[in-house]
Symmetry: C2
Subunit: 403 residues, 2 copies
Amino acid sequence: MKFINGGVCAAKGFSANGIHCGIRKNRTKKDLSLIFSSKIANVAAVYTTNLVKGAPLVVTKNHIENGKAQAIICNSGNANTCNANGVEIAEKTCELLAKELKIDSKDVVVASTGVIGQEMSLEPFEKGMNALVSGLGDNSNAAEEGIMTTDTIAKSVAVAFEIDGIECKIGGIAKGSGMIHPDMATMLVFITTDCAISNEMLSKALKSDIQSTFNMVSVDGDTSTNDMVVVLANGEAKNAEITSEGKAFDIFMKALNSVTIALCKMIAGDGEGATKLIECNVCGAKNEDIAKKVAKSVICSSLVKSAMFGADANWGRVLCAIGYSKCDVDVSKIDVEFVASTGKILVCKNGSGVEFSEELAKQILLEKEVNIDINLNDGNSQATAWGCDLTYDYVKINGDYRT
Amino acid sequence: MKFINGGVCAAKGFSANGIHCGIRKNRTKKDLSLIFSSKIANVAAVYTTNLVKGAPLVVTKNHIENGKAQAIICNSGNANTCNANGVEIAEKTCELLAKELKIDSKDVVVASTGVIGQEMSLEPFEKGMNALVSGLGDNSNAAEEGIMTTDTIAKSVAVAFEIDGIECKIGGIAKGSGMIHPDMATMLVFITTDCAISNEMLSKALKSDIQSTFNMVSVDGDTSTNDMVVVLANGEAKNAEITSEGKAFDIFMKALNSVTIALCKMIAGDGEGATKLIECNVCGAKNEDIAKKVAKSVICSSLVKSAMFGADANWGRVLCAIGYSKCDVDVSKIDVEFVASTGKILVCKNGSGVEFSEELAKQILLEKEVNIDINLNDGNSQATAWGCDLTYDYVKINGDYRT
């Protein structure tokens, strides 16, 4: 398996585009993206568990009930959530696109991201649809840009892998910077693959993968109303279709996992206002559930996040966050280390402080990627969660997001 | 019932003091406080549910098993948590005080607040104990100061009330600014009353009261390791002891509730970095549990808190936070209003936006106390939660708390 370029256009038979159609006032910012498969594809998706759901999720869920899709359209600048006519707008968007692509509107996945509760007009979609479709090509970059909100970097990854000597590819793009605390699903992630895989196995792969990837990311504890992850698999690689568990499925799972973990790290590292990516690795847990809960509790703590921003080795806050995770752990066995590519430092052993060099700790915590490694010394299970630091800029971005 | 001065010294038979004994380097900041009852008192207490517990909590729990206490000693500057010899230090502190006061060290409640995981020495206690005790008097103010950490204002309240024509008093002091997200218990709160009330009823009153008061406050989602609320009742008002439910108990509960709600508002409004107090009132809920969970979800949302800081009427984030509260609510029935003493504005009706004056909304959200009033239109239960805005200063304070 190797990492390659191309994002959602890396896999055979997929093209993409992104344009400015007028949903955003700022003409330099793209606001509408399209991903298209030349052949109808199997599709699997997971959605936010937030009870307040964007209208596009309702429409998409209905459209892909038959396990098939051919296009994904997504706008930024307006979440189309808490709008009285939201479902109507989302349906009509699919119809406009279907007409232009000459496909069935039921084969369109629709998504939106942006401000909640703002009226939405169909007009920009009407105006832009022709340009969006006619510009389809090897333009994963443009599609990435079209779904960005407060993201500062476009997020894209792809890998090539082999199944029975046949090369397959899988690639994805993501947006997500704030309102990120996935629960069952995640931010917006669109993944394409030319690997032939049945609906059932595609869905199984996705649902299993997100438990240890997107569901382990938090930027601010706010579970979005518009989260979804969608995977399209069009079979264009011509491998024997994966229809059951086994070696080929394992290879596919591994490739999918490489893509999703890379996107997780990009999302957490580009959290609103973040200056660094925080990875929390928990090992030695009694079971995986405990490992996950402890890891998430630590990366969600505002106090830990603020300390990381200040490069302050205030490990007591890590212990505090473990303590309120409601997990059955033995505090007197816990070890904590801060780790970066430049070195590592033990700050807590058996639940109590150890002497350490504040200077070295500072040096480690000033890196762009910092790991908080926790050993519960209480079993053999482990988990990883990703987050970021809490900064002035998070507050600034969110103090006047709408204006 | 009327509000009076005097804090923890308002009730008969109580005296207090606060000094600088050397736990903090800064000599202008008090770091040790004492509350003393001339007569042994009934005591009730609740503690943090954080699994990582400060050593003083362990010692206190043991000391007051018999329901009696006569003194409360509390230091700031060091939490005495995650220290190998923490229990020994806390026990010796009680012994030093008991010797000076000529009481049994088992009748001492001990508490600490400050940095977690820093070694603690008995020396400052030894040096300061004589001055602490000899300065006992009508010094609630000094005791308030001695327990402050990042608090910007001292927090104190007292009320006078009558039971069967006999005047009773109840007063309290609190500290708490960061690491505040109580669960079963709360930040540090010490309450004194001269009302005669049995151990059983005192405990019942406290445990019932905190459910709708301290447990409904959040500053940053981090449940502290050192939380406790302690009430001392010395009976010096000479009323007939309250030993069962009934009119006298109701009056006592009401007086206690006035004290705890006032302290809750002070704590939330003085949250680390906060520029304003946010009160979230939820009504029309199917049951009280839903009302409480919705109210807490809203005041805990980093996005809502940031919007409040920016005086941005971004009500979609309020809906989002209700949506991920995991409560059975009908989104299409929800109304949201922003309310301040100067006016109010409806921003969401039946789960969708309504037209409103952004100018008026801004004016309301710029006030020092802002209410977010939510009607779920789904039943008759209600709840209130208190929090604050998320600001640059929260990040600043917590980026380098130890240094």
